[in-house]
Symmetry: C2
Subunit: 414 residues, 2 copies
């Protein structure tokens, strides 16, 4: 493995630079390029208000091949009307131009065809309601294109440039072998870390060199997101900008995956594992979070009920505060389950904190509070609730709510 970054899989170049969007002078423009063209798939926010970048990328993802992804941090380009849309398109056009020129000159890869704006995806994260400083960004794209590289440090630069309030870059890599071919999957994510307001965006970028059909790539991404990103609830809301993108260069040398065969399963397992890793890094880096927890809901009547109850528990401020205080407060968990609006049997309702049964068949169980507190005080623990009404289960991840979250979010001013 040449490195642990998004440039690990064969066929990817990356860069991250500071172009002046962030007043801090930190890096705020990132490029990811697949000169050989990638099959691509994406999942976007379900928020009804979407950023200009999301609007444009939703259109461009329909292209049969994607050459590049351009990302800016520090400005969400959301709620910015027609001008915002024009700026997002400008970012794509400028990226296509710069990448073509640079990649060609450097002879880094043989270009299969001339990239155009339709083959470029764009993502933004940062403050809502302000127009992009587009001339700075245009210059930044040229600068980033000059720095494009397959090195590990270029991958790290990418991971850093997409950060807003994240305290650290978050990356992961998985290796697997499919019929003798070595496959690499890599990802970089920026956070559910909502310390500063209007920056509550999740951006996930995954690269892989596997050869796979576009429909199956899309299916794999959707499944992986469903069991990772979509399971993480920090404050119960999706931002205007949430975007997850996967690019597959197809250069690993495997026989292309075109059906849901065992090889496909092997790939999706590794992809799911990668996403799980990234989402846990996100949870731990969430707004002032000190620890995370998994809520497993069993015995539900439907999948929707299981998810609804799990989220209700993970989002309940009093549960989040209890976890912050290492308090095995099952009363709050039961209260949240009861008010989730799902079918349950009060006489069969049960709850475990870690492996400790604290509530069984509708009645409290005596337990060692010190031991239970120790469980909650871990970096990660599991809360299990059995609704006692069916046999369906689901889960989600949550993180604690700290006084720091409130202080920072109250003190920041628009």
């Amino acid at each position: 493995m040449k490195n642990d970054t998004i440039t690990s899989p064969k066929g990817f170049l990356a860069a991250g630079v500071a172009c002046g969007i962030k007043k801090s002078g930190k890096s705020d423009l990132a490029l990811l390029v697949c000169p050989a063209d990638a099959k691509a798939a994406a999942v976007f926010t379900t928020n009804k208000i979407v950023s200009a970048a999301v609007t444009v990328s939703k259109r461009h993802i329909k292209s049969p091949a994607i050459t590049a992804v351009v990302v800016n941090s520090g400005n969400a380009n959301a709620c910015t009307g027609q001008k915002g849309l024009k700026n997002a398109i400008t970012m794509c056009t400028k990226t296509a131009d710069s990448v073509e020129r640079i990649v060609d000159r450097k002879k880094l890869y043989a270009i299969r065809y001339t990239p155009n704006a339709n083959n470029v995806l764009v993502a933004s994260t940062g403050i809502i309601g302000e127009q992009l400083p587009i001339s700075k960004i245009v210059k930044g794209i040229s600068k980033a294109a000059e720095k494009l590289s397959a090195s590990a440090s270029a991958g790290l630069d990418f991971a850093k440039a997409i950060m807003t309030t994240d305290t650290r870059p978050k990356q992961a890599v998985r290796l697997l072998e499919i019929s003798g071919a070595k496959i690499t999957i890599a990802g970089a994510v920026k956070g559910a870390g909502m310390i500063a307001p209007n920056m509550a965006t999740t951006l996930l970028f995954i690269t892989t060199d596997i050869a796979i059909s576009k429909p199956l790539l899309a299916k794999a991404l959707k499944a992986a997101i469903g069991n990772s990103l979509n399971k993480l609830t920090v404050d119960g809301h999706q931002s205007t900008n949430d975007t997850a993108i996967i690019l597959a260069s197809g250069l690993a040398g495997n026989r292309p995956i075109v059906s849901r065969c065992p090889r496909y399963k092997k790939f999706t397992d590794a992809l799911a594992d990668l996403c799980d890793d990234l989402v846990k890094q996100m949870a731990m880096d969430a707004e002032g979070a000190t620890r995370m927890f998994k809520v497993v809901v069993k015995g539900a009547a439907t999948k929707a009920d299981a998810m609804k109850a799990a989220r209700a528990i993970a989002d309940y401020p009093l549960v989040k505060c209890a976890v912050n205080g290492a308090d095995p407060n099952w009363g709050r968990i039961i209260c949240a389950a009861g008010s989730a609006g799902v079918k349950l049997n009060p006489n069969k309702l049960s709850c475990k904190i870690g492996s400790i049964t604290v509530f069984k068949n509708g009645s409290p169980k005596k337990f060692d509070a010190k031991k239970a507190s120790k469980v909650v005080s871990q970096k990660e623990h599991t809360i299990t609730v059995d609704l006692g009404i069916g046999d369906i289960s689901d889960f989600c991840y949550g993180c604690d709510l700290s006084a720091e979250y409130v202080t920072i979010n109250a003190d920041y001013h628009t």
Copy 2:
């Protein structure tokens, strides 16, 4: 008006005593008695897990007349199984016995018929999952019955004894005249103040001397709650114990209200005004809350959408933090509206903070940030969001989220 408490309307006696449930020694047992028997109506929590008191009161409210309400604080009698149920019934039986004996001896009122346990309502609030100290409570009921009085101080004692983490008793009175008869409506409420965990209960008790039919009383209560208590969201959850009860002694001398006539309308208006007053007192006394706000959602496709969007905004931690910091952060409001899962037109979406337009037809508007911050820093302000898709509106109340809320809820241990 003889006083400002729940004993203001004709025909009510109250008391509040300390019986030893609370370790602090503060008062924790309250009685409200209508010796002439009251028409009664009640609204209970929609949480699927309900306290033993709620289970019992749901049954007893079907009685044609209610003689007394017994309330304990400091213990929720929730998640306590069959024993808890038996204890709740014991509270009713003991109250019926004591009240009969005392009221008869004191000749305070002519008893129309012997009260029995079925004519007594019970409410509990406090810690979940612990059995009631029932012998203490039984003694407390005797003690409280001895102190029953129609005085203002007895009413205040009642309002104090139902408190858990509330910082002050919350009461209100409204006077009205219906066809020459003087009608009084009074209420006492305990809080949405969820500073300590497992105590997240709203208990509302209303007394009135109006003569009205039971079905219309129920209808009036439901409507008033719908526009007050049910509009207040502190953390988006209903407790296992939430209860609102209204008792009408019928002693005001008005011709009984038996239809939805103008006199009924006059009564419901006054009742709604009383509840609005009480709910605002609750919001201001909520867990570490420093200010409250009203969210008005207009232009919705349906009533359900309007309510859903209003609650999504009022419950959004980032909006609550912004209000705490007097920050006119419209981006968070728009983000919450967009992710509420309701129909909206992004190109017509608009938002006002107080009377200041900050977002109009999908685009940000320039506004005086200092002026807007002043609006948010008020004890109460209004956020208006127009979804731009229909002509239905609804509203809800929220309160800010302070670092104190988190600190206290994290530090408290079960």
